[in-house]
Amino acid sequence: MAAQNFKHALFSAVVTLIISYPILGFNLVSEGISVQLEGADTFTLVGVFAAAVVVFLFQLFRDTIMGGLGKLPALNPMANRPPMPQRKRLKVESVLLTLMLIGALFWPFIASRGAVDLATLVLIYIMLALGLNVVVGLAGLLDLGYVAFYAVGAYSFALLSQYFGISFWFALPIGALLAALFGLVLGFPVLRLRGDYLAIVTLGFGEIIRILLNNMTNLTGGPNGIGGIPDPTLFGMEFGRRVKEEGNTSFHETFGIAYAGEHKVIFLYLIALVLAVITALVIRRLMRMPVGRAWEALREDEIAAKSLGLSRTAVKLSAFTIGAFFAGFAGTVFASKQGFISPESFVFLESAIILAIVVLGGMGSQMGVILAAIAVTILPELAREFSEYRMLIFGAAMVLMMVWRPQGLLPMRRIHIELKPQG
């Protein structure tokens, strides 16, 4: 056993060296037109060897280390508490949510412009994560191309406004419905696949959409993107300094207040807030409806569900489509917030981040997803100095999470429908 561990550890260390030495240990230096290979400085070399030693030691004592990690869940004070009864839990949850909502409503008026802008982004991620949660958490479909529907929503608004001058409020439902349509059409062939295959194919679809947007230069402007996307208006009132569209009035003139850039930012934030709340409420409702139960039933026992007449394709497709719908929603808001979009905004990394939010939050749980969205979007902003290591920290957090609390921060506890005693 020990000998085997030693052999394995030695092997891992050598592999580490073989991989990292050529990559980090040499530098290409260009002198004039010729390129020369130079050894890296001693610091890097020491680093490479230190890494190999760390890998060696870790592999040598892996059993002990992982055994120690395995004890981590026991340190979690909440682990063994019996769950609250449903009624009490619902009360606590609704009180908390109401407080959060009230806070969120008034907060932008005291916060800085940058903070409100960031909060709008958080709300967009909350919408995205709640939508993806339907697909991954509730219906159990691993979708790695979710960002495609986000892109469809954003580009629908950008193109509609560019070519037809359609305003935000009309584009919002259109963008969401178009994204849903995409979900329906893409989902139909894809949902026959299971598990890993589904993940790979959705990943592919996500990339295809992005590459299409990149290459249909005539329509989408390709990598240059689309700019000049209008801001939302409030009953025909614009938030810019000058009115751009004929027939509109301007917000600050109507109310006789001085123009301030913050108005627009706060207005967008409030729109995002309202839409995020609507998203959360609608999905909450769906979970208690027959579709929601069908998602869960199919996830729990597919054979039994089919034997009761549930069509796998129809049920899974409904989740996929509804998820896409909310991504389209979020995309429209995003386009309006940025004023400019390009395929750059819809890379695979976005799908990965949204998925990470869902997994961190606890699959299927809304409260968890909201908290995780806040954490994942804001923490990197707070720790800008570490931004180079963002992905590293992200990965480490995911691994720790899987060991410590695989069910997510706040695992889902669904609201059960209760049968009241008769009479």
């Binding site: 579709v291 007449g309 429908i417 209760e418």
Partner: protein
């Protein structure tokens, strides 16, 4: 109402079901018996659309259904239970019954999201139907428990109730008495008879418990190693020499 003609099912080199025929009339309880591995469950799997039979025909109410997708067959009113109980174990007992009624609740999404009176009325009706069947199988006290926490016999009854709320025409039960104690078997016995008498469903039943089979079946089909061995009334089967040799003799 149901006619199975020369049904065959081959798995690679194994002919698990070989030319089995079977018919079920309205208001009838038909049993399939045979030793383990005889191919009984496979016949059920073909009838319920889980397998596409390699030969033969299955006609239900004048419609050929062999090879149709499982969920469509179930919607025609041909619903089954499983040899190894398959409940949605993380859902509550009453939710198990609600899932099964998705077609009665087939309203559009919007009316559900807006919680319209029409939607609420439908949901109340399906809760009532669930409550009725829970009472019928004696599980009312368990309604809000997780289905996975029920005792084995209760799970078996819940599975039958879950079929019944879909309002089937023909119920297929795969070894419903397996694992039940004698008292529970007796209750089951009465339940199955009442399904036929009071709710007008026909029943096809796979069962090893001979006393149950002989008691409640109108007709019995015996299969052995995938092939039909005999069929007839319980009395005829009891007296059939082949059956005694192949099956009852062993037991």
């Amino acid at each position: 109402m149901l006619e199975v003609k020369d049904l065959s099912m081959r798995f690679g080199g194994l002919l698990a079901v070989d030319q089995v025929s079977l018919d079920v009339k309205e208001h009838e309880i038909v049993a399939i018996i045979g030793p383990n591995g005889a191919g009984k469950t496979t016949v059920f799997n073909c009838m319920s659309g889980f397998y596409k039979p390699t030969g033969g025909k299955i006609v239900f109410e004048g419609q050929e259904i062999q090879g149709k997708p499982d969920y469509k067959i179930s919607r025609l009113g041909l619903v089954r239970t499983f040899q190894h109980v398959r409940l949605f174990s993380k859902m509550t007992v009453v939710e198990n019954l609600l899932v099964a009624q998705h077609r009665h609740l087939n309203t559009n999404l919007l009316s559900g999201i807006l919680n319209t009176p029409n939607y609420r009325e439908k949901e109340r009706k399906s809760l009532d139907r669930a409550a009725y069947w829970l009472d019928r199988v004696g599980l009312t006290d368990m309604a809000n428990r997780e289905a996975g926490n029920l005792a084995y016999g209760q799970q078996r009854r819940l599975e039958i109730a879950r079929c019944m709320v879909t309002e089937p025409k023909l119920l297929m039960l795969d070894e419903p008495a397996a694992g039940l104690n004698p008292a529970e078997t007796k209750e089951l016995n009465q339940l199955i008879i009442s399904l036929k008498e009071d709710y007008n469903v026909s029943v096809v039943l796979i069962e090893h418990d001979m006393s149950l089979v002989m008691d409640i079946s109108d007709r019995i089909n015996v299969i052995n190693q995938g092939r039909p061995l005999a069929s007839g009334t319980p009395d005829e089967i009891r007296r059939n020499d082949d059956v005694i040799k192949a099956y009852l003799g062993e037991a």
